[in-house]
Each structure stands twice: as structure tokens, then as C-alpha cells.
């Protein structure tokens, strides 16, 4: 079974984030890392490929400057290879343009199953995976919290407002996984060493047969016009608990007439 896992390489969320004051796009300088949310998809892909008794996991990513740091992490976990689309023309791409690029790259891997996170940690638009599904003509199941594959079908427990749905879907399909769906493995030393020599196929927009005018800032049909500081909540009262902290809470509740 061929599993494609979408991996986004993002600035470390632990570091301060900023927008470019001119373009209002997220500053993506320095080393990028694999989005934590994607570690679950990579783990899921590896488990499903193993359970299917054959096949492999191919990573697909779009990132500036030929960035592979995040991909190496996923390769070290056990993915077989990666496709990286990197092209200056992609800077400023919106979610739909990104989906067009990813769909073209994913199609090259002839996947049975495409796995992505429900949304990225940095941009969190949360539409790209299902846009990819529509572009590929695939069915999709979003918000999967449990996934299994058998007889050419994927079986998913899908999160709902009320609880979850059991969903059955023929392959090929796109599935988006929530964090916590599986416990991502830590790369072993052997895995890290092996990852260095695993193939990363780097492609440009032209390689994918896409028109550069339809992607990136040139193709984006939306823009951020302003970024302002939000209204700050006024600072509240901070009390160090010395055994009577709860009394402050009770008084607060009384003021709100909640007790």
C-alpha cells in the first residue's frame, strides 16, 4: 500500500512568531521543523503500511529554500522517501494554491491513502487536505481519531460534535488525523543516520506542470490588509495561594452571583 503523508515544515512554534510588516505573511526564516501535528500522520502512515504487510510511506511537502530539516525528521521515523516542492514562485500562496501544488505532487506517488493533519500549527486554515481530495477526485474523511485499512477500504472513527461516527470509505482517499490519534515514535539513532541518505525528490512549479502565475503571491486572490494589536484584557488580581486561595475564588463567584 502506498501511503502519502503531507508534512508541513514550519518555524519552531516555541520561538516568537511574527508577520512580515510589508506582506503580512508569516516570517519563515531560519531553520524549519516538522509541524508537531504531522508527527501523528507520519506515525499513522507507518503503522498502516506495516499492517498492510507491504508498501511504503512517501512524504510530500512544500517549503521555501529547499528546506528538508522537517522531512528528515519524518524520514528518520521510517518514511521511505520524500517529494519536496520548493520554488520562489510559491511565496505567498493561499490555501487553494497550496492544495493545487500538493495535489500534483501527491499524484506522482500514486497513493492508495493520503494522510494529513486536520490543520497546521502555524497557518491553521484547515481546508488544504480536503481541497487536495477534491482536486484528486478522491473521497475524504476529516477529523479521524482512529484509522484502519483493509480490503481496499479505510475505516475511520470521525470526531463529531456529539461524539464520533464510524465511517467507511473506499481507497484511494484522503484522511485527516487529529493529534493524539497515535503515539508518534521517536526516531532511533539508526533511523536518523538512514534518513540522511533517503531520497528527496525536489521539484519546481514548472516540473509539476503548473503555471507560476496561478500560485504564490501572483495567484493569491486574498490579502491581509492590516495587522493590529488586539484589545488587551485588563490585568486582573493575582494571589499567591497560602491555603486561602479558594476563599478569593468564592468571593469572586459571589460577586458574579454564581453562588
Amino acid at each position: 500500500m502506498n501511503v502519502v503523508v503531507c508534512v508541513k515544515q514550519i518555524p519552531d512554534p516555541a520561538a516568537p512568531q511574527a508577520l512580515d510588516p510589508q506582506t503580512h505573511t508569516l516570517v519563515r526564516e531560519g531553520k524549519l521543523i516538522m509541524d508537531d501535528s504531522d508527527a501523528y500522520g507520519v506515525e499513522m502512515g507507518l503503522q498502516l503500511a506495516e499492517a498492510a504487510g507491504g508498501g511504503e510511506v512517501t512524504l510530500v511537502s512544500m517549503a521555501p529554500g529547499g528546506e528538508t530539516s522537517g522531512l528528515r525528521t519524518a524520514l528518520a521515523m521510517g518514511a521511505a522517501k520524500a517529494i519536496l516542492v520548493s520554488d520562489d514562485a510559491l511565496k505567498g500562496s493561499d490555501a487553494l494554491s497550496t492544495a493545487k501544488v500538493l495535489a500534483k505532487a501527491i499524484a506522482r506517488a500514486e497513493p492508495d491513502l493520503v494522510i494529513a493533519a486536520t490543520e497546521s500549527t502555524d497557518g491553521y486554515t484547515g481546508t488544504t487536505p480536503v481541497q487536495v481530495a477534491e482536486l484528486l477526485g478522491f473521497p475524504s474523511v476529516s477529523f479521524a481519531k482512529k484509522v484502519s485499512v483493509g480490503d481496499g477500504r479505510v475505516h475511520v472513527e470521525r470526531q463529531t460534535e456529539a461524539g464520533y461516527d464510524e465511517v467507511d470509505c473506499p481507497l484511494p482517499a484522503v484522511v485527516t488525523v487529529t493529534a493524539g490519534v497515535v503515539e508518534p515514535r521517536y526516531p532511533s539513532f539508526k533511523g536518523i543516520m538512514a534518513a540522511k541518505s533517503k531520497p528527496v525528490d525536489q521539484l519546481t512549479v514548472a516540473d509539476l506542470g503548473l503555471d507560476a502565475a496561478q500560485v504564490g503571491a501572483a495567484g493569491a486572490r486574498q490579502e491581509v490588509t492590516a495587522v493590529t494589536a488586539a484589545d488587551e484584557r485588563k490585568a486582573g488580581e493575582i494571589v499567591v495561594d497560602e491555603g486561602d486561595g479558594y476563599e478569593h475564588i468564592v468571593r469572586f463567584l459571589e460577586q458574579l452571583k454564581l453562588v
Binding site: 481546508t127 478522491f138 464510524e166 482517499a173 493529534a179 492590516a226 486582573g236 494571589v239 469572586f252 458574579l256
Partner: protein
Amino acid sequence: MSIDKVWVLAESAEGVPTSITLELLTRARSMGAVTEAVAWGSGTAGLAGELGNYGATTVYDVGDIGDALPGAPVAGAMAELIVAGNRPDVILVPASYDGRDVAARLSVRLDAPVITNVVDVDSDGDSVSSQHGLFGGAQVATARFTGAHPWIFVVRAKSFTAEASGGAAPQVVAAPAPELGATNGAKVLARHAEERTGPKLDEADVVVSGGRGLGGAEHYAMIEELAKLLHGAAGASRAIVDAGWVPYSHQVGQTGKTVKPTLYVACGISGATQHLVGMKGSKNIIAINKDQDAPIFSVADLGIVGDVHKVVPKLIEALKAHG
């Protein structure tokens, strides 16, 4: 390109429109355009009255989609209507599990971009702009579309207050059912509802949430007990949902529910960006955390620097004694 017609994707649960549907209809109506809704399911006729009461003059009925997930059939029907010339200028879509699927598929079918995570929509004549919280809501970005209509906005719950217009029952028009092929392959085999006692998390007047500071799944019981004593709902940070201590349906935050209760009590929650986005709009916030530098204290009206295992049990005892 004036704004003459606005569509709202109307979701329903248990035979009534969801709160966010009514919020979006209220906002659509105030844009001064014709407000119409798109609904699906076997009970659309029964929903129409309430959709009209919040301003919809026409309801497009996709009809019974059986056990299919809504993404493909609803987006397909909407695209058919639009391609046939029934073109809205703006489409407001709930930021829900199904709403995001519909918006994503519709976006591709129309080759129209989507703006998501919207928390406010401003319209001024021909222009419509949307607002988005960034970095946990510390900054607000204003965005707009630069291309052709329709403009698809995916809006977070509780961005607007729902107000009935007292409008008449709308006309219900059957939407076309296009050929969907493989895209409509996902079928629901069974639906499972988690048992819930007390109010719904996103409708509760009081929300008590627990985080990593609880130390273990077994300590979540005190969060539930405190929530019950305050007639509220129990919530959770993403960290403990990911750790498997509580179901995802309890999650408050970017990837979970947005709550705006009268009182939010954060117990052992540090206040990561992901969490703040979902609860910052609460009217009053109490935070209990050992780490006095925890970001949650920056949004708290009352912050207790202390151990949740000491403060919360005492609080529970005091509330019980209070009667």
C-alpha cells in the same frame, strides 16, 4: 461588485438549526443583501421556519444525503446552483467539522479561494473584510478577497450574537443533485453520541477546564465535580486530550470548541496560544496554576498561583458547605 446576495450554510442538529447557523444568518441579514440558506437532510422543511425567523428568504434544500458525509454532496449542489447562474456574492460557512469540508470542496469546484478562522466580518458598500485572531488573539489581522465573487468565509462559532428578525417562512427550493463520482465515497456506518450530563460545553454559562497541571487522568474527576457544582460544563486543554485523559469533545481551543461563558475557570492550564484562542472571549476568567509566569495569568481576572490539587478540593468543599 455590490453585495446583493449572501448565502449561509445552514447546519442542523436534532432537528433545529445550530447556534452558529443563526449567528451567521443574523450577520448576513445585517449586510443589507438578500439572505439565503443552504440546508441538507431529510428535515429541511421543518427547519425552514426557524431559518426564516432569522432572515433567510429562500432555503436551498440539498435533500436527504443518506449516510454520506456532507462535504461532497452539499458542495456539489451549491456549485451546481452557482454555475447555473444563481450566484451569491458572499458565502458564510460555519467553522465546524462538516462546514470546513463543504467550504474546501466548494472552493475547488468554483476555483475560488476561502478565508478561514474568521471572527468578524465587516461590510461597507461593495467591500467585505474579515478579521482573524493571530498568535492566540494577541493580534488581529484584517483580510479581504481581491478576486471575483463569491467570497467564501469560514467563520468561528460565537463571532456574532444571534437575533431573530421575525421573518416569514422562506420559500424552499430543491437544489440540483450533481454527479459526484468517487468523491462521495465516504459513508457513515454508525453514529455514537458520548454521554453528557449538564449543559453543552459551548452553551454553558460556566466552563471549568483542566490541563496538564492535573498530573493524571484520574484527577479530571475534580474538574467535573467543580463544573457540576457551578452548573457548568467541563472542558480541557489540548494537551490532556492528546494524552488521552478526556475525549476530544471536551477540548477548548483552536482545534476544539470556542467558548464564551460568563465564567471560565482554568485549572492547571498554562495558556498556550492554541488554548487562549478558544476561551479568551469569556466574560470572567479565573486561573489556577503553579507557575506564576504561565501565560494564562495574562488573561485572568483572578489568578491563583498555587497547586490545583490543593486549591480545587478546598474550593469544592467550600461550595458544598455554601449549599
